[in-house]
């Protein structure tokens, strides 16, 4: 492990408490404790509705993605280019951030800088208060979830309303999101109908039919769109050379929020920057195909500085430009940047392709990751943002099969980062009892494997133990460390009569291999 990483991921949590808002843990009565992926996923995997929905969603999107990706002849080169654009931007992030700030300012917008979640929330609250509004409408945004914005606004008397359908469902139900793209995928249509009837819709007024439910959301939110004066958004891409912001969406709620209210506030992570509009063309080709499996998402809005206000006869007295504020958020990203291996995670464009191909995610669902960021990307991002001490066993939430790396449109080597994080995790366990035991046993394995005689004796004994004791061990093994972890969910393997070496010596190798 490099020296930098050890100071970054201090075992006692050198991570400020303010940066842990993205955790969705529920242990020890503490709101934001350590992540326990294994115990949470063991529970979640029994939720059959969730598994059915997620399996349907991931399978469908996977197929759609494959189809539209195959239409792009140079997909692989395009991934490489996107990855390099991101690496290049990160290597010069200070320069590009200042360029972006200059250009936004020139176009009349105002740029704010927030070192952590707490500061970003305070700036946002202050801006909302200045506008005089007591409520805001929100475009779906991961980063506002990461900083716990909604809870903070509510505590301070500002009512936030999520306008993306799935985010609205989660907000009304008090649910955590379970997928980056389709956050309410763990719910079925009857549950969603019930959630709506328990909140804004009249009891018995709704059918459990997706078009009817969507229609109810349309009516409910239309009122809010027409009345609201402040919208809060995230941002998919920030373009340094022009100061432009791009928001990519499907429902039109984003356009509503960006078009109707006269005050727009964006909160965006500093890693969302790209140098040029030409680079944006690359990402707009990669993102929708990777994310929803469409050639293009229904709506993309790109604006620079203060967008023009929408003039209508009743609004004539307003200024001809909206007020525009953007908060650039660090919240641990610069710490990730200083990790040679881990910094790749900052290239993420939140497409969720890695979730859809992950065999682990497909079975355990998004809630098992106990973080705003689920799936493979969550398993590498969350530990880096909150530190190893709080991330618990999250870096082990993977089989390292590499499917995520293959589909990632910006070529983040997720398995490589997982192994890197696991080594950091093991280094922190070095002085604990389990760490010592583990190191001790691998030391013994090392000695045995380094000596022919010892190895022969050991392999002969293991095959005998398996042969005669296997059935018993399969029954009582779950109480016997260290094999309990294995026997809990599967049987011990059956040992052949001869080891490979014995068979070779006896000349029966061919027969053994044919078995």
């Amino acid at each position: 492990m490099s020296k930098t990483s050890s100071t970054i991921h201090g075992p006692n949590g050198s991570i400020p408490k303010a940066n842990t808002w993205l955790l969705r843990t529920e242990h020890h009565g503490e709101e934001r404790g350590r992540i326990f992926f294994k115990s949470r996923s063991t529970r979640e995997i029994r939720n059959l509705q969730m598994r059915k929905n997620i399996s349907h969603a991931t399978t469908t999107i996977r197929e759609k993605r494959k189809r539209v990706v195959s239409e792009v002849p140079n997909w692989e080169e395009l991934r490489t280019r996107a990855s390099q654009i991101k690496q290049h931007t990160l290597a010069n992030l200070d320069v590009y951030l200042e360029e972006f700030e200059r250009n936004v300012t020139r176009a009349g917008g105002k740029v704010h800088w927030a070192r952590d979640a707490a500061q970003a929330r305070e700036i946002a609250l202050e801006l909302v208060r200045e506008s005089g509004a007591s409520s805001v409408i929100k475009v779906k945004s991961m980063v506002t979830e990461e900083i716990g914005l909604n809870a903070y606004l509510s505590e301070n008397g500002i009512e936030p309303t999520e306008t993306d359908l799935a985010e609205l469902i989660c907000q009304l139900a008090g649910d955590e999101s379970s997928h980056i793209l389709v956050p309410a995928i763990h719910r079925n249509r009857v549950e969603i109908r019930d959630i709506f009837e328990a909140t804004f819709a009249q009891k018995g007024s709704l059918e459990a039919d997706p078009p009817k439910i969507a229609e109810a959301a349309r009516k409910h939110l239309r009122e809010k769109f027409l009345r609201s004066t402040v919208a809060i958004s995230g941002g998919n891409f920030l373009v340094a050379e022009t100061g432009s912001v791009a928001i990519v969406e499907s429902e039109g709620n984003g356009r509503m929020c960006l078009t109707l209210p006269n005050n727009v506030i964006s909160i965006v992570g500093i890693e969302k920057l790209i140098p040029t509009m030409e680079d944006l063309e690359v990402f707009l080709t990669l993102l929708p195909r990777s994310s929803t499996g469409e050639r293009m998402n229904p709506y993309t809005t790109i604006w620079t500085g203060r967008p023009p206000a929408q003039m209508t006869p009743e609004r004539e007295t307003t200024e001809d430009r909206k007020s525009y504020n953007i908060i650039l958020l660090d919240n641990g990203r610069t710490r990730v940047l200083s990790d040679e291996v881990g910094k790749q995670a900052l290239a993420c464009i939140r497409c969720s392709a890695c979730l859809n191909v992950c065999p682990v995610y497909e079975r355990v669902g998004g809630h098992s990751y106990e973080s705003v960021y689920p799936g493979p990307i969550g398993a590498i991002l969350t530990p880096q943002l909150v530190g190893d001490a709080l991330a618990g066993d999250l870096a082990f939430a993977s089989t390292l099969c590499g499917a995520c790396y293959e589909v990632c449109p910006v070529k983040i080597n997720i398995p490589e980062i997982l192994i890197h994080l696991r080594s950091i995790h093991s280094d922190h366990k070095r002085d604990s009892v389990s760490g010592n035991l583990e190191r001790g046993s691998f030391g013994i394995v090392g000695i045995v494997m380094g000596n022919t005689n010892l190895f022969n004796i050991a392999s002969a004994s293991v095959s005998r133990i398996l042969k005669y004791g296997g059935p018993i061990l399969n029954k009582i093994g779950k109480y016997l460390p260290p094999i309990n972890g294995w026997v809990e969910s599967r049987n011990l393997p059956k040992a052949p009569n001869d080891s490979l070496r014995d068979a070779y010596r006896k000349g029966t190798l061919d027969a053994l291999l044919k078995k």
Binding site: L90, V182, M256, L260, T276, T300, T312
Partner: protein, 220 residues
Amino acid sequence: MPSSKNEILQRIRQANTSQVTGVRTQSTLIRTTPMGDSEAKLDHDDLVKQFIERVEDYRSTMVEIGPDELASAFEKVLLGIEAREGFDTICVAPPLLHLFNKTVAGYKVTHPDRLTLKDYNSKVLGTLTGCAIGLAASGTIIFNSSDDEAPGISTLVPDHLFVVINESQIAQDIVGAITSFDLGRPLTMVSGPSATSDIELARVEGVHGPRNLTVFVVRQ
């Protein structure tokens, strides 16, 4: 205490000076453009055909018309749309107003300047507008808030969006498409009607924006 801006920039510089890997300069980037070169050779007719097919793929309605047929084609489309109680108005972008004589298919033809936000929500059935360009590869229409277009509010709030595009406005793909605009005005890229798949991944059109998109492609 340093300002948070300086603190963040300082941390970035510190992180980056200790790095050995990374693509520092833009000149070392791999040269490739979205969609590569292979589709770039479509001839004009195939390009228009691809555009029509791919916009249709989003469950939009495509109507091919001759140079002087917009008014009659639009009327025909409107007559085929189910009437909605109280929605008696069509918003028409100023450059297209001269095509109509006060009404079309029984709807009042109205200049956007005379419509309030409330009108768009409770009276305007749909909006007829021009656009900046179309992209064949992705079936996308780009608006750049120019005078040829009806205002953003009018293409977003009503149930129907009707777009007129000249075949000469259709480009192959996104390469060079968004870099060519004056960024003083917002760009809006539209690919099909508003849609969601948030409930059990079932696709539903018209969540917040227009429920239906109709595109008139003007052929010479």
